[in-house]
Subunit: 347 residues, 2 copies
Amino acid sequence: LLLEAMPELRLDRTTMDWVVFAPSRARRPDEFRQAPRPAVEPSDAASCPFCPGNESRTPAEVYAIRDAKGTVPSDWKVRVIPNKFPALRIEESPVRVSDGSLFRRMGGCGAHEVIIESPDHHTTLLEQPVEHVELVLRAFRARYLDLMRDSRFQAIVLFKNQGEKAGTSLTHPHCQLVATPVVPRKLRLTYQVATDYFDAEGTCLYCVLRDEELAARDRMVVENDQFVAFVPYAAQMPFETWILPRAHQASFGRVEVASLRSLADILKKTLRALDCALDPWDYNLVVQSCARGDEDESYFLWHIEIFPRLTTPAGFELGSGMFINPVRPEEAAEFLRASLKDAGSRS
Amino acid sequence: LLLEAMPELRLDRTTMDWVVFAPSRARRPDEFRQAPRPAVEPSDAASCPFCPGNESRTPAEVYAIRDAKGTVPSDWKVRVIPNKFPALRIEESPVRVSDGSLFRRMGGCGAHEVIIESPDHHTTLLEQPVEHVELVLRAFRARYLDLMRDSRFQAIVLFKNQGEKAGTSLTHPHCQLVATPVVPRKLRLTYQVATDYFDAEGTCLYCVLRDEELAARDRMVVENDQFVAFVPYAAQMPFETWILPRAHQASFGRVEVASLRSLADILKKTLRALDCALDPWDYNLVVQSCARGDEDESYFLWHIEIFPRLTTPAGFELGSGMFINPVRPEEAAEFLRASLKDAGSRS
């Protein structure tokens, strides 16, 4: 039974994507017969494993931010724990197994952690003061750097699922992190496009893109001293918004601690603009960074992508990978700028 | 205003994906502020534009199957019309426009059609007799061949969205078809993987995959004289199922009319197995075929992919392109085989 529950990666030989099989996250096949279970949502602090006082109900803490003098276990501000139902586990082996057929697999080696953003069960990231958003980003950075010390991990995906349409059912505010033993195919292809551009032009594709968006102005949402946020020219989804550093930096792990306040500032402003424009809204947030070993390369710029989940990808998108976006980025950006102005004048 | 509403394709320079912007399908940005509108669902035949008698309320019919002697306009069995809110239009130009910046676009040239599967508003594809499923497939084939005569179209994506989770809100049973003026990047990469395999091995990757699945048997769902259906070894989603021809054939347009009954038979059986196993369930179905010009190539095999929408792709999937599947394909296939047996013994 334990063997059965071990996570595994399998190679889709037709796309060269590795797919994660995580039976510990499974419902049994016959459970799919019923209607989806209602979200398993702890109704109060007493039953929520992410709430202070319930620390013993989670796997052992791997990182936390407390007051300097804090000694009480429950007295944390941000807390990171291994996911109780991990997609990938540090114990598995990344050795490939094949019998000579097209069927190739490897152990589900990696890490899957939960960043609990706040002790407060009922808050959200965008309601936090900028000082607290900074602490969440500091936890991101610390875990990114620590996990990258394990040379088996090729890439780290930091992400947030906010709301049911974005794939979460837990209210207590949290982000997640998955360290993968392969560079995901989609990222590999993205790095290749950027490398080809660098080889041809001698400049970073993303830095040029940022500068051209700054020059065009009509898709800009907000900017500050160190970062810019815009709706990209070819956004796949309505109101998709990217945050890019003003300075070239391939890896999120290279961000200076001193820059995290500025990043927290623009993240909070961007989420606030979206929240004013789109109410209610669910969203995913992803930190895109370079693969292991390319931290000092010139071809890639780490950045944050925010995907409001307003439309449902359907057969055309699944089959072709092409997206249909009904909202022009210029209109979305204009609406976000106006929303931010309104929000500013109200506060 | 008309200019604004024209569909456009924009190149995402970071991934080389073309994204479709279709303002005629838009809600205005400020409409996103409200909760999603209830599905605009005609409640009866009188108000449904796809129902017989309402033919004048759709764009002009491009194809239909009627009885040989049929002369009454409403007396159709399958009917194909242009989508009233097209993502792409035959009138636009595929000429690329660029000002030397990274921002590159082209007209939203293409076709977007709706295949109305039945005059009956309340039926579904899997409830149709096999003879009628065959007519739907015959309409697929006829439109595929006709649209491929327009040399601007590089690929044709045939798909079905069944249910709200699969991205549709119209009940009247229908499929869709989009002809694109570019080979979608995802398909181009898939063809490249298959071409590389062919160059190395001298055989079609998909034919080998089909034969290895037939030999392994534990992921098989159902087979007949000309087709096989299985849950692929590295399925991205729970209960994802593929239907492959037994004989090599790169293009769906090359299917013999005489083979459509056999294809209808396995499609109906596969949908029935899934329907018995997963009730209720929404799904997408996609026909994967080769790009223009490769109809007689040896490297690719056209096939059908069925994606039950049981889980929600979240931040990890959006960010990395890697999928987490909680159900092992062997278990899913075993469950589907058992469901089909049950269904057979009941009928």
